[in-house]
């Protein structure tokens, strides 16, 4: 077995699959997940149809349904993923089986990787189970296949990040309860804390520059932003992350305006309770290129990037750092890599 294959398929993966799928908990979790996603889909569809009895378009139904489904799926995975991974290493310690793994030829990184792979496989299984429900949006139209694929990519990477955060806390804190609490705190900070930052410290609109503002770069850490951008064809359904001191966005009369990533201005009227998006392009700012999967971020650290690209890059960096930290913290006797290499060199000599 070569290194690549053994990295992906080590004995821990097979053992975890067996243990996980032999309990009644897994089928129950899958059933509840599907019922929740399908239930929400049905509820959204019903309410959309009933509120748009006169003049509602099927394409709108599809888009609204899709938007709600991706957001709800992400929130569900925020609750599920830490529960799958936060006990991965700490439960081995509590069960006192971790030492038995340390004395085998499995490397600490393989232990972590095996635990992560098996947990994430379950998440992917849940996502696959939801595909038939998501495919319903195509009945109404308004959503392209590539939008769905990108939404799933964003969701998988976000779930992976939540999983790696859970593994890192599980390795560091040693107790499952503490690791679970910390993982949920980390998960909610990632999803909603970063969005909260955009509300508290938004980017200020400066009328002197010709470049459209974008929400602070850190807000793109939350998968919610690219999910919403993607589901709404490149703009958010509400103003977010931008403070307007110049009066450019102030329309008065209960109308609030925001800026889409492409530099376009759009306004929502809140006077009748239900926000309605009215989009206008340009608005005095330089518009950037528009792609089929969304519109590029107009300014800031990720200028010219698609929102999903910024999100995935930042999350993969978090994954890499958390994995390396976990691999360092896990061994019973910790040794820095360069010290370990020196020892091997001495022995070879």
């Amino acid at each position: 077995m070569n290194g690549v294959v053994s990295a992906f398929w080590n004995p821990i993966v097979a053992k975890e699959y067996r243990s996980r799928m032999r309990t009644w908990r897994s089928p129950l979790a899958m059933m509840i997940y599907i019922l929740l996603v399908a239930g929400l889909g049905f509820a959204i569809f019903s309410s959309t149809v009933s509120s748009n009895q006169f003049g509602g378009q099927p394409a709108n139904y599809g888009q609204i349904l899709f938007e709600w489904l991706v957001v709800f799926q992400m929130i569900l995975l925020t609750f599920i993923t830490p529960a799958l991974t936060a006990g991965a290493i700490s439960s081995e310690r509590e069960r006192q089986t971790i030492d038995l793994l340390f004395v085998t030829r499995i490397r600490p990184f393989s232990i972590i990787w095996g635990k992560l792979l098996s947990s994430m496989s379950f998440v992917v299984l849940l996502l696959l189970l939801s595909v038939p429900i998501f495919s319903l949006v195509f009945l109404f139209g308004g959503i392209e296949v590539d939008q769905v694929l990108y939404e799933f990519l964003i969701t998988v990477v976000a779930a992976l990040t939540l999983g790696v955060i859970g593994i890192a806390f599980s390795t560091w804190l040693r107790r499952t309860l503490a690791a679970t609490v910390a993982s949920y705190v980390g998960a909610f900070l990632l999803l909603f804390g970063t969005l909260g930052y955009g509300l508290i410290f938004p980017t200020t609109v400066d009328a002197k520059v010709t470049k459209a503002p974008a929400p602070p770069a850190i807000t793109f850490l939350s998968p919610m932003l690219p999910l919403l951008y993607m589901a709404n064809n490149g703009q958010l359904p509400f103003p977010y992350g931008i403070r307007d001191n110049s009066g450019f966005l102030n329309q008065g009369g209960g109308t609030v305006c925001g800026i889409s990533p492409g530099g376009g201005k759009f306004c929502t009227s809140t006077s009748n309770g239900a926000p309605i998006a009215i989009t206008s392009s340009g608005g005095g700012f330089t518009s950037l290129q528009t792609g089929s999967t969304g519109t590029a971020i107009p300014s800031g650290l990720f200028e010219g990037w698609q929102p999903w690209q910024a999100t995935i890059l930042m999350q993969l960096v978090i994954c890499l750092v958390a994995l390396l930290v976990s691999a360092f913290l896990l061994p019973p006797v910790r040794r820095l890599p360069w010290r370990r290499r020196r020892v091997v060199e001495l022995e070879d000599a």
Binding site: R18, T97, D99, L100, V103, T104, R105, P332, V333, V343
Partner: protein, 307 residues
């Protein structure tokens, strides 16, 4: 084969191991004896490269444990003092999992699992879930787990603890079989007599210090050097104590349950001299006997001295 040199382990203010040294040649069975908390598990974890000593060195089969733990892990089979088992795995799957962790090829694993199940007498339970086994069977399974990669050294931490007498005998028989296979074994226990039949060498540890180490006979002889007399006298006991205490061979005198008990060093002739001294001093001796404390009591004495 196994060497511990000046091993110390300090946790904050507490010294768990205090300059422990011993050697176990190839093919020997080393009984590591001491009360709970004496430092047995700490020593075994250092030998298994699961713990870094504060000072000192350990090596197994010529490999320094701290410098090349990966190579040491291929040479040792480690059985901790608890049995870590997984839910939802059968006995055969459990052994197959650990054999895979030791990178044994698939075809070989099937053969290994079959042989080990036969060795521990669990062939007919290969399809049973591990967490439904009794404690004794789990212990045997954990011993088998330590053997999946055919190690040359076995580090067994209290393999018989918590077992009923029958399971203890069965475990002892398996260990004898392993001894016959030429494995070098360290077995820890807090019960000395349990090991004397099985082991060729013994080390006694207490409060982190090695009190005695060597062949079984030498250690037992050393422990039994101190003996105890139980003396009943007619009338007051104080005059008898006044005669006993100045005697050179008498180490300690006390009154226990109305009887004088005197620890002395020497043989039967020394005991006769003590009796003669009492009668010569005018003491009416009603009963004079040697306390048969045996190995267990000698071990208790050896491990209860203040450090």
């Amino acid at each position: 084969m196994i060497s511990a040199e000046d091993l110390s382990k300090v946790y904050g203010q507490r010294t768990a191991l205090d300059h422990v040294s011993f050697e176990v040649p190839e093919g020997e069975i080393f009984g590591f004896v001491g009360p709970n908390g004496a430092g047995k598990t700490t020593t075994l974890r250092i030998l298994a490269a699961l713990l870094e000593p504060t000072s000192g060195h350990a090596s197994i089969d010529g490999t320094d444990v701290a410098q090349n733990p990966a190579r040491v892990h291929t040479r040792i089979g480690y059985m901790p003092d608890f049995f870590g088992v997984y839910d939802q795995l059968t006995v055969a799957e459990y052994l197959d999992f650990y054999a895979a962790c030791y990178r044994q090829p698939k075809q070989r694993r099937t053969k290994i699992v079959g042989e080990l199940l036969e060795l521990i007498g669990l062939t007919d339970r290969r399809g049973q879930l591990v967490d439904t086994l009794s404690r004794g069977l789990k212990q045997r399974l954990c011993l088998a787990r330590a053997l999946v990669h055919d190690p040359v050294v076995l580090l067994l931490d209290e393999p018989a603890s918590g077992l009923d007498p029958r399971a203890r005998v069965e475990m002892r028989e398996i260990l004898k079989e392993l001894r016959g296979m030429g494995k070098t074994i360290i077995i820890s226990s807090h019960i000395l007599p349990e090991l004397t039949e099985l082991c060729t060498m013994i080390g006694i540890i207490d409060h982190g210090r090695m009190r005695a180490t060597g062949s079984v006979q030498d250690v037992i002889r050393g422990l039994s050097a101190g003996r105890r007399l139980r003396i009943n006298v007619v009338g007051a006991r104080e005059p008898a104590i006044a005669i006993l205490e100045p005697l050179e061979s008498v180490r300690h005198v006390e009154i226990a349950n109305g009887t004088i008990e005197a620890d002395y060093e020497g043989d039967d002739s020394t005991a006769a001299d003590i009796l003669q001294a009492l009668t010569a001093g005018g003491i009416k001796v009603a009963a004079f006997s040697q306390v048969d404390g045996g190995l267990e009591e000698a071990f208790m004495r050896a491990t209860s001295e203040d450090v």
